[in-house]
């Protein structure tokens, strides 16, 4: 399970960046690690370059609890495998 977790990251998706930034600030205040990242296309069929919050598997339960307790707005939380590969050399 731990080995599999190494390659999984959770992406929290939003309707707009205002919503995303609100949750980002909330998580920061609670000391929950998160990073702003472009939403991978695997999670979304629409033609928009939207932001997502990237969460490590170790932190996802605490993040879900925080969202629930604060009634924070978001669209979906999606686990994706092998999204991040530092030597893939696929640039744009």
């Amino acid at each position: 399970m731990e080995e599999k977790n190494k390659h999984i990251r959770y992406y929290i998706l939003f309707d707009n960046h205002t919503q995303g930034m609100m949750l980002h600030e909330l998580l920061d205040k609670q000391g929950l690690p998160n990073r702003i990242a472009p939403a991978p296309r695997d999670t979304d069929g629409k033609a928009a370059c939207g932001m997502a919050l990237l969460i490590h598997p170790d932190d996802i339960d605490a993040v879900r609890t925080c969202i629930e307790e604060n009634h924070a707005e978001y669209v979906n939380i999606v686990p994706l495998e092998n999204q991040l590969q530092k030597k893939r050399d696929r640039y744009c």
Binding site: F14, H24, R90
Partner: protein, 424 residues
């Protein structure tokens, strides 16, 4: 998801083709930036900007246009932003840094033109970049032959003004550049309908100087042996600074510098002690060109400085703020901009002096001199750069690349060997 499709359609963009770019951006950003450990918290701002790179800032620019402000698109650090800002105009960088735009550029340009020029033309004619659609006027300059001819093509599609950059640095050339700035100010006044007064220009000079100081503060932190930020993150900051509002840019860079200075005090480094420090010099790395930095920093070294237009050439040297008349201010602008050491000048020994100084200041172990394919000017200067560095026993690796991924493995081999040699 934030939905900017309507805005892109209103800009006349090819939304369907643009979607192909939107699809690859998250992968590149994820691989280059999100794989890093222990990034500065203040990078959140740039993470957000790049996540919505064709959304938030274009929407801001359109709102300002509705208020009557004009947007000027520029391609070179020689174009004085101060003049545009003094007329209540907005500056946005336009250099294309993606292979995605190259094929559309090649429809009208020869293949053996540098990828930056082809991508810039392709982004406009292919209608796949909002910044190229939004800009009311393009401001070109004569810093390379490829651009000069490209501007003739772009000028058929969008209002264009070309500034004639001198090719030498004699006293009469500084006066000539001052005259060129004076003429540009008249063009900007006519286009915006706003008069440029000494007071407005003084304020614009102050704004741009504050931005330069803030960028320099971040770079100063990179001089520390305890390296508080990766080269990739610093490059992203610099790339975005060409597009952002200058006041906000200075605020965000200062916020980042605050954190980096604290990291240095606390001994927080993004790389293990002893990691070899690389200075990159050469042609600009326009957003989203991150290939070279990513390969270097995933090959066991760290990039600590960029002696390039998307680096120190953008912010080193301040404009003298003591000018009281427009004539004095235009001269002060000319003097500052003419200190920028571009390979279009002959001779260009100032660039060699800069590289040697920065090797010392940034405690550099090795230099990578990289030019974009078909950039005759920077390619030719490699000999002088290499000779000067070798004379000082500073290891140097000369490279040439383009925007494709095809040479990534080859670059990994060469850069890996260079880093290994530095480690011996």
């Amino acid at each position: 998801m934030a939905d900017y499709v309507k805005m892109w359609e209103n800009l006349g963009m090819d939304v369907k083709n643009h979607d192909n770019l939107c699809q690859v951006l998250p992968t590149a950003v994820g691989d280059v930036f999100m794989t890093q450990e222990n990034r500065p918290k203040a990078m959140d701002f740039w993470d957000m900007v790049i996540a919505e790179v064709h959304g938030i800032r274009p929407a801001e620019l359109i709102e300002e246009q509705k208020k009557g402000r004009k947007v000027f698109g520029t391609f070179c650090v020689y174009v004085p932003d101060e003049v545009i800002i003094a007329a209540n105009g907005i500056v946005t960088g336009l250099c294309g840094g993606s292979q995605f735009w190259v094929p559309d550029g090649e429809k009208v340009l020869p293949k053996n033109v540098c990828p930056l020029v082809k991508a810039s033309v392709g982004a406009r004619l292919g209608r796949t970049c909002p910044f190229f659609r939004i800009a009311d006027m393009y401001v070109g300059e004569t810093t390379c032959d490829g651009k000069k001819k490209a501007y003739e093509i772009l000028g058929k599609d969008v209002p264009m003004h070309i500034m004639d950059v001198p090719q030498m640095k004699r006293e009469k050339d500084i006066i000539k550049w001052k005259e060129e700035i004076t003429d540009f100010a008249k063009i900007v006044e006519e286009f915006t309908g706003n008069e440029i007064t000494p007071e407005k220009l003084a304020e614009a000079i102050r704004i741009c100087n504050e931005k330069r100081k803030a960028l320099q503060r971040v770079y100063d932190c990179r001089k520390s042996k305890c390296l508080p930020i990766s080269g990739r993150d610093a490059l992203l900051m610099t790339q975005i600074s060409f597009f952002d509002d200058p006041v906000r840019c200075a605020q965000m860079c200062n916020r980042l510098a605050d954190e980096l200075e604290q990291r240095i005090k606390d001994g927080v480094s993004v790389v293990p002690e002893g990691t070899k420090r690389i200075l990159i010099t050469g042609t600009p790395l326009a957003v989203p060109n991150w290939k070279l930095h990513n390969i270097i920093e995933t090959s066991g070294a760290a990039v600590v400085c960029e002696e390039m237009c998307t680096g120190t050439r953008y912010f080193e040297n301040l404009v003298d703020e003591s000018g009281e008349t427009l004539d004095e201010q235009f001269m002060n602008l000319s003097k500052r901009y003419m200190k920028t050491n571009c390979a279009c000048f002959t001779p260009n020994t100032g660039r060699i002096d800069d590289i040697l100084r920065m090797v010392d200041e940034y405690q550099v172990d090795g230099v990578i001199d990289c030019s974009l394919m078909f950039c005759c000017l920077y390619d030719t200067e490699k000999l002088a750069v290499s000779e000067a560095l070798k004379a000082k026993n500073i290891p140097v690796l000369s490279l040439e690349t383009d925007y494709t991924d095809k040479d990534a493995e080859q670059l990994r081999t060469r850069i890996g060997a260079f880093v290994e040699m530095l480690n011996q």
